[in-house]
């Protein structure tokens, strides 16, 4: 290959390697999780898809639309995508501290306190998160009705708000990362954190109940109508702390 072509390949590599490494790391970590989660002795249950929901609970569900929707929508799709949205919303608009680009400088030179500016930004992202959880969920209920099935709107709302409670904590965490870390560190630490949560969910039985993903799937509420107040409280507290901390940090930062 000519030197020039070699250089082209090299540049393509440097342009993409960050995402590549993050993805590879994620997948390799999943291998570990997958392997470790396989039951040691035969006949034991293994996880099936819906995050943090025990198989025994799944087996005992009736084969109806309500269970179907819970397993696939609240237990899987919404959890995953709302989490991704939370991370994405938290990651834009908060530029890394040192390499300040001009666009943020224009805003920083305005006669507004940084706390207000950043606070509004954080609030908007959170509102968008809520809407993104609630509206599609309502659509799910409507769509079910169109097929002659039903999923109670009230339950749907409660479930979606549970999902928001969990996603909100993720959002707050990544807001905090954005306020404090550079791009690279943020990517790495963010992935690592998500994996810790994810791995715990799959692996450790005792801790499973504290998984944030479990809060988001709301299995206690679905199965027994019990609202996990403790989980909500913990999530809200953590979120508030992280947000307040982020705002304080942004206030003091040099750009």
């Amino acid at each position: 290959m000519s030197k020039a072509n070699q250089m082209l390949w090299y540049k393509a590599w440097t342009d993409t390697r960050m995402f590549f490494f993050l993805g590879m790391f994620s997948l390799i970590a999943m291998v570990g999780a997958l392997n470790m989660a396989y039951p040691g002795s035969p006949g034991q249950e293994f996880p099936h898809g819906a995050l943090a929901v025990r198989l025994a609970d799944v087996r005992s569900l009736p084969q109806d639309a309500r269970s179907y929707i819970w397993l696939h929508w609240f237990g899987n799709t919404l959890v995953i995508w709302l989490s991704i949205l939370a991370v994405a919303l938290a990651s834009t608009g908060f530029p890394p501290p040192r390499a300040a680009t001009g666009s943020i400088l224009h805003t920083l030179a305005l006669p507004v306190s940084r706390r207000i500016m950043a606070g509004v930004r954080v609030a908007m992202g959170f509102v968008e998160l809520v809407i993104a959880a609630v509206i599609p969920t309502l659509l799910v209920c409507v769509a079910a009705a169109l097929r002659g099935q039903s999923y109670s709107v009230r339950e749907g709302l409660v479930q979606s708000l549970l999902a928001v409670a969990g996603a909100g904590a993720l959002y707050a965490l990544f807001v905090f990362f954005s306020a404090t870390l550079g791009e690279m560190a943020k990517g790495i630490l963010g992935c690592a954190t998500l994996f810790l949560f994810g791995l715990f969910t799959f692996l450790v039985d005792g801790v499973q109940q504290y998984s944030i993903f479990r809060l988001m799937t709301g299995d206690m509420y679905f199965l027994r109508g019990e609202i996990p107040w403790l989980g909500i409280a913990g999530s809200v507290c953590a979120s508030l702390l992280l947000i307040v901390g982020s705002l304080a940090i942004v206030e003091r930062r040099d750009y």
């Binding site: 001009g102 400088l105 224009h106 006669p111």
Partner: protein
């Protein structure tokens, strides 16, 4: 009646890790003046300007704009309400269109000058519906200027206002600055790499080198303070007898600050063949005062 300078800093200092960007900067900008800030890349100009705007916080030292402290959150906000800032990187928020950005910025400045906004929009032919992210570099610079200059601000802090502009546009921008300052309500502090621009419109010059002010004077005073002196000798020139002298053959050239008669007299006393004194250009002064040669 002597007014307080609109900007005063004393021993302003800012370090990033071990790199000291601003190292004890003393700056004074009189009200109503056009002050040109000259300095090489990395001299600390941009950091100094950002500190004035409260975007970066000084490690030590003090600064006041309009009498308000730059390192106090409340007072810094008050400063920003009366100041138009143009950052070095003329990037604008990418999500909004030109029109939206102007409306957005206008909302923060009750004294916004619609006449200036119209004047610049006409001058620059900015397409109102293009988003910030899709503007060309020149257009971005122009938009940044519109946003900074239309605020009806009492003070303009502009980091390289003509960078990215063609010569005709640059001249128009300089004209606007001259007119604004001439109206009496506005003070202008601008940094530039174009020495001729500073010579053209500034009535005060400040030079920064390695984070410190090496010169801060009225433009008119410079001609009295700095001269180029060339002394020709009949043989090897006594280069060590003169500060900052360059030796070329039998000639010594130097930039003299202050007492030029003394230097001339010394030259003659050493039996110089000829002593020439000529006015120093701002470029000469800049190159000498900001040179990073070890003394």
């Amino acid at each position: 009646m002597i007014e307080e300078p609109i900007i005063i800093t004393r021993k302003l200092r800012k370090a990033y890790g071990r790199r000291v960007a601003v190292d004890g900067l003393d700056l004074e900008v009189p009200s109503g003046s056009i002050c040109g800030l000259l300095g090489r890349n990395g001299s600390g100009k941009t950091t100094a300007l950002k500190m004035l705007m409260g975007i970066t916080r000084p490690d030590s030292g003090e600064g006041r704009v309009f009498g308000q402290r730059i390192n106090n959150n409340q007072e810094s906000l008050a400063i920003r309400a009366r100041t138009g800032f143009l950052p070095e990187d003329k990037l604008v928020p990418g999500g909004m269109t030109v029109g939206e950005l102007i409306r957005f910025t206008r909302a923060f400045y009750p004294l916004w000058r619609n006449d200036l906004e119209e004047h610049f929009l006409r001058l620059f032919h900015l397409p109102p519906s293009m988003t910030g992210a899709s503007l060309s570099k020149g257009a971005r610079c122009q938009l940044s200027l519109v946003l900074a200059l239309s605020r009806g601000a009492e003070l303009l802090v502009l980091d390289e206002p003509t960078s990215g502009l063609d010569p005709a546009m640059s001249e128009q921008v300089l004209r606007s600055l001259v007119t604004l300052a001439g109206e009496g309500q506005t003070t202008v502090l601008f940094s530039s790499h174009q020495i001729s621009e500073v010579e053209q419109i500034a009535d005060r010059v400040c030079m920064i080198s390695r984070g410190r002010a090496v010169l801060s004077e009225e433009m008119d005073e410079l001609a009295n303070t700095y001269q180029q002196v060339r002394i020709v000798f009949d043989g090897k020139p006594p280069v060590s007898e003169f500060d900052n002298a360059r030796e070329e053959g039998r000639t010594l050239s130097m930039l003299v600050r202050g007492d030029v008669e003394e230097v001339v007299a010394r030259g003659r006393a050493m039996h110089a063949l000829s002593v020439d004194v000529a006015p120093a250009t701002l470029k000469d002064i800049f190159l000498t005062e900001t040179s990073e040669a070890v003394e």
